[in-house]
Symmetry: C2
Subunit: 433 residues, 2 copies
């Protein structure tokens, strides 16, 4: 095996910003051919409902469904999956679910209102979505942790009905995925996937009820379908490749850091693992650890491609500079593997999730620490947030004017409305003066 | 003038759902030619920066700018606009700004954290966006209220720098718009508009700094540009035509209700004004009021087109049924013009803003009640919310495991990671056991 030579950047070099920008660049341009095929599938499902949904499912998933009702998995099937799990898996799944739920409970928004001196009431009413849809990829690469992370915040928010879709290629189901759906409290499960499943959730068919929002990861067809039905329903973010950024002061075991970098790199050849340190010598040590540990890894080829193609080691003068580079990158996962993570955290503005201290491996957050593992990628942490209970709640403004309040506000509204040339607005307000 | 005959629907008729669906239908399909022209403008501004921005601005806005610096309006110009306002307008604007700010203060999210028994810390850190952009339409149809509604939540959130863009066709500025920017605390103002302004905000030029999120209304070019730069930056919603839904028990002055319907209808021929009542006789009275008041209205032609083309009167059996129809419509603005608005409000799940009681004209909310007037349209209130402080804040998850916590969680993560075939994840966790 040839050794991995990590790309080295130095924040003191004149072209550092340009080099960093180039390394971070990610082309998420759309494939127009896929776009067109997905549009056709959506239109067909809208028009023919179950018939189209069954056709596409049988064709793409090599299944043999005849009627809509065959697409649904009963609660008994889910419970059976749960009951069949080995004890260690069941316990791990339950612990993870309990912790994700406990953290999510902290995120619940509450309605509020206040009354003004003249008796007028102002407020904000928070309600859960009536119905949400959860897309879960099928086959071998199914992630039960993803079911927990997407389903539990919806249930904590109080969503009326949570519908999960998961394809079953050649009839194959994943017991851990179904078990996760069971303990997360998913209400109904349909064995469909791809753009046809997204279309069914967005518009409804005779069998699948239309939802208000669709969340969950999927391949390029699923992602494209979600973009195309946005507006008809809400969607969560469209995720790019996974990323980790580690800031280390050089005092953590380099093997630990190497493995933490691997844990993102093994996801995908396009995943991005970056290490920042104020110690050039430490960067050398981690590179040695990388080459020592790589041959032991089951997914060594993916890790090698990711580290070589998209990874980087960045040397900075000090940790404050490291924080500023991190803010510019706005990573999905940020590990602060330093002596005083609280102090460094105070300097961080842009990151999906922050893993503080040498013991907090990013992988703990992927599964069971409690916070969500659905996080903003590709620098979108500059303006967006982890998936949470708030994604399944909405707010309505409340205004209840007293006669006196309406009279006073009516005068103000009248002046402003006439200033904008909207005289029906003005007269509507003036009627109440 | 021929009389307006409102479309009548009755919830007891067999095809009510289909008829309602048809009346609500709104084709927001994209114009591919506009799409292509906007893509070209964005690419050109990305590549040529200020030079392209100035070219497009001079061409589309009939201006004569030569350098980037000429595009910026100084703070002195804004203050001059404020100082030049007639007293009644200045006072109305200040009252509106104060009330919008006071309401927004209630929306601020706070960071939180908690410590577990083993010393591990979990939390959520809330930070404002570094920089936000506010698009404001120029020319005659400029709305100072819109400046307040978009700018104030951003400033309350603590956004580092708020950049406003407003085109000045033929050099024309609107004093009320600039005055509103002044009292809302906008940091910098550039006299640019259209797709070129959106591109400049998204990618930055030599003169215009790149922002993290772009908000504010605009024409089809602006809306298309916002969609196309989404991902590079965050955006607010893409608004459809304005809507009002009024539920009335038949006891409000029919002239008031007619004028409230007009106040949406005058926005735009595609605006939608719907009245629901349990009294057919009241619907007749409101129709009489409509035809009595219409000739007095300055924007009578727009109102007539909107009421005739998209309006509706819906007869229901009782107010509970009215609430269910409202939940299905999920209107932008919902007036509950009834004796007991609290009781009816408790049945409402889907609405952007709820105006309770006979005195609370929707127009008060447009200008000065306090809650935002940027609201979800086209039934998107099923899953989205008014613009608010929360749109200018983001959350980062915090995890800081103690040695003991990492050891316990590591065991759980290891089992789940191996269940998903991700062994680098497992080993990264196991290092800390």
């Amino acid at each position: 095996m040839t050794a991995i030579n990590m790309l080295r950047l130095d924040s003191s070099s004149a072209d550092f910003n340009a080099q960093l920008k180039q390394r971070l660049a990610w082309d998420a341009s759309e494939d127009l051919e896929i776009h067109k095929r997905v549009l056709d599938i959506i239109a067909d499902v809208r028009q023919r409902g179950d018939a189209a949904l069954i056709d596409y499912t049988n064709r793409f998933d090599h299944t043999h469904f005849n009627t809509g009702t065959e697409l649904e998995l009963s609660k008994a099937v889910l419970q059976q999956a749960w009951d069949s799990l080995p004890a260690d898996q069941a316990q791990a799944l339950q612990t993870a679910a309990d912790r994700v739920r406990a953290y999510a409970e902290h995120q619940k928004l509450q309605s509020w209102q206040f009354t003004e001196a003249d008796g007028s009431l102002l407020g904000q009413k928070v309600t859960p979505l009536d119905r949400a849809g959860l897309y879960v990829p099928g086959g071998k690469a199914a992630y039960p942790s993803s079911v927990l992370m997407n389903a539990i915040p919806a249930k904590v928010a109080g969503v009326g009905e949570l519908i999960m879709v998961v394809p079953t290629p050649r009839g194959e189901t994943n017991a851990m995925v179904l078990a996760a759906a069971y303990i997360a409290g998913v209400d109904r499960v349909f064995t469909i996937g791809g753009a046809q499943a997204v279309a069914a959730l967005a518009y409804g068919t005779e069998t699948v009820p239309a939802v208000d929002k669709i969340v969950g990861p999927g391949n390029i067809y699923v992602a494209t379908a979600k973009k195309l039905v946005f507006g008809q329903v809400g969607i969560d973010m469209i995720a790019g490749p996974s990323e980790i950024l580690i800031i280390c002061d050089g005092q953590t075991n380099p093997d630990w850091i190497a493995m933490d970098l691997f844990s993102q790199a093994e996801h995908d050849e396009n995943a991005q693992s970056i290490l920042i340190s104020n110690s050039g010598e430490f960067l050398n040590q981690v590179e040695i650890s990388i080459n020592k540990l790589l041959p032991e890894m089951e997914r060594a080829d993916i890790i090698r491609a990711s580290m070589t193609g998209r990874g980087a080691f960045i040397k900075v003068a000090n940790l404050s500079e490291a924080a500023e580079v991190a803010n510019r990158i706005a990573p999905e996962h940020l590990e602060l593997s330093v002596a005083d993570p609280e102090a460094l955290c105070a300097q961080i503005r842009n990151a999906g999730a922050i893993f503080m201290g040498r013991y907090t491996a990013e992988a703990l957050g992927d599964y069971c620490a409690g916070p969500n593992h659905v996080l903003p990628t590709s620098s979108t942490a500059r303006y967006s947030s982890p998936l949470g209970v708030y994604d399944f709640q909405k707010r309505s403004s409340l205004i209840n004017c007293s006669a006196k309040g309406a009279s006073e506000l009516g005068k103000v509204a009248s002046v402003l409305a006439r200033g904008e040339g909207l005289t029906a607005h003005a007269r509507s307000a003036e009627f109440r003066i």
